[in-house]
Structure formats: structure tokens, C-alpha cells
Symmetry: C2
Subunit: 137 residues, 2 copies
DNA sequence: TTATTAATCTATTAAATCGATAGGGTAGTT
DNA sequence: AACTACCCTATCGATTTAATAGATTAATAA
């Protein structure tokens, strides 16, 4: 299941991408518009900033803004930052690989085999979808 | 992330599917072979039995066995029984649909749009993969 | 027939982790 | 002075992953 963190994060990013100009938007503005808990959203936007997706400005007129154009932000980045691994199992993860304790041979593992297929397909979608695509229509 | 419950369940099913004959296999046998906690596996096999995937036999020489041929067990069934919804978000789930609290309009939601694509692709894989496919090579 | 053993079944509980959120205070900007 | 991002901590609840203890059933050996 997708965590609310990721869900809210994507919604907030979409909101920012839809802005006409690139002036900072206050957390409270996004929070109200998208019905997201203010404090929760705060921490989400912070991690997006720390990971190079967003910039921020303090004080009056401050807020968050996109650092790149929406078409240059692939969903793979967003998902990996907010949700973590895209794979359903660590042993098929490209960026978060981990060996299974119980599995003596990965290539013989039925779960492994199945989950590689799922990962490949999901990855393809996230790679080919940018933040700009989510704003269309 | 895939729960260990589902992971262990699939491994156990694969083990049963690989059996020559269809005589019952004791939980302990599967537990040892696949490195799965005995008691945990016990509860997993129980839910698979209650959901019509497995049959069981008590007493000496008892154990679990597949009710259908492996090629007639699609991964959609297994996943839905063990893991629950295949969708990453309830609002795009076919079998476990639930409306989002925060979303006034699903069709306008960027997350919804993205997750429908993921669901469709994942579903296709699970539909086209049977337990028999996981046993090959 | 009886006792023993092997196995599933059932229920309860516990530990640990994670998700989601709330509160309060700090620091930089206008 | 007002505003706003930033940071730290604590909490509450749910879920996952078991561990524990026993009850039930069936085959087999005596």
C-alpha cells in the first residue's frame, strides 16, 4: 500500500507544478487546498527539499517551490524519496537491495522471479511519467 | 512492501506444487525446507485452506495439499488472499474499493491517475502467472 | 481395544515496527 | 514585529510477526 506520506507528497508537488509563476507557496496554502494535515505536510515537504526536489524560503512571502521544471521530475525520484524502494521485495530492489535471510538461492526463488516482473513494469511506468504528466487534464 | 506472510505463503505453495504426488505434506516439512517459522506457517496455510486453495488432512500422515492443479491457481487469487488489495491505493482497487477522505474528485487526482496505471500492469502480470509458472526452472 | 504418536486446529498474547499526527520551540526574512 | 520555514520530541494506533499453550483428530502399534 502507498503510504499517506507519498500520496500527500505527490499531491503537494502537483499543486506546486500547477502554479503559474514560481514564487514560493506557504505550507498552509497547500495544506488547506489539498486537505492535508499541516504538520504532516511540513515534514513531507522538508524531506523533498532535502532531496533536491524543492527549494524553500523563510519569512513573509516564503514557502516552497519546485527547483526544476515539472517535466524534468520523473516519478521514480519522487517515489524513491518518499516511499522508498519501488520493488515489493528488497531482494529485487535496484536502489535498496538486500539479501533475504531465508533464501539460499535467489534465482531459484519463486517469489523473486515473480517480483522482478512486477518491478520492471512498475519501474517503466514511473520512469515514463513526469510530474508534468500528472498535471495534464 | 510484500509482507512475509505473502512471501512465505507463495514459497509454501510452490513447494507443494513441486511435489510428485498429491499426498499431504506436513507443515514441519515445508517449514524446514523453506526456512519458515513453523507456527507462522501454520497460520498462513490455514488461511489458504479456508480460502479454497489448500486441503488438509489431520492425524498421522496428514498435512496440506493443493486442491487444484498449479496451472489453475492464478497469482491474483493468492495475492488477494494473503496480501489483500493489489492496488497501491484503495481508491483504485477493484475488489477492495474505498473512497479517499481528502479527495473531492477522484478523476482530478494525480495520484489516482498514476496508480490506475500501476494497478493495471501489476494485475496483468498476476493474472497471467499461475503457480505452475513459478515452478518452471 | 487401547495407548501412543503425529499432525492439524484454535486462541491468546507479546514484541517490535511503522504510520500518522500533535505540540512547542528556534531561527531566519521581510 | 510579524511571518514562515525548520527542528525535535512524544504519542497513539494499527499492523506484522511471531511465541506460547493447549485441544482435536487420525493413523498406527501394542
Amino acid at each position: 500500500m502507498l503510504s499517506k506520506k507519498t500520496k500527500y507528497g505527490i499531491k503537494a508537488l502537483t499543486f506546486l507544478a500547477k502554479q503559474e509563476d514560481k514564487t514560493p507557496v506557504a505550507i498552509a496554502t497547500i495544506s488547506k487546498s489539498e486537505n492535508i494535515s499541516l504538520k504532516f505536510l511540513e515534514s513531507i515537504l522538508l524531506t523533498l527539499r532535502k532531496n533536491g526536489i524543492l527549494g524553500s524560503k523563510k519569512g513573509k512571502g516564503g514557502g516552497y517551490y519546485l527547483l526544476n521544471s515539472p517535466s524534468n521530475i520523473p516519478m521514480t525520484s519522487v517515489m524513491r524519496i518518499l516511499e522508498g524502494p519501488i520493488s515489493m521485495v528488497p531482494c529485487v530492489s535496484l536502489n535498496f537491495y538486500e539479501k533475504c535471510d531465508d533464501c539460499p538461492d535467489e534465482n531459484a526463488c519463486s517469489v523473486h522471479k515473480l517480483m522482478i516482473q512486477v518491478r520492471d513494469n512498475t519501474l517503466k511506468i514511473f520512469k515514463n511519467t513526469s510530474l508534468a504528466d500528472l498535471c495534464k487534464d
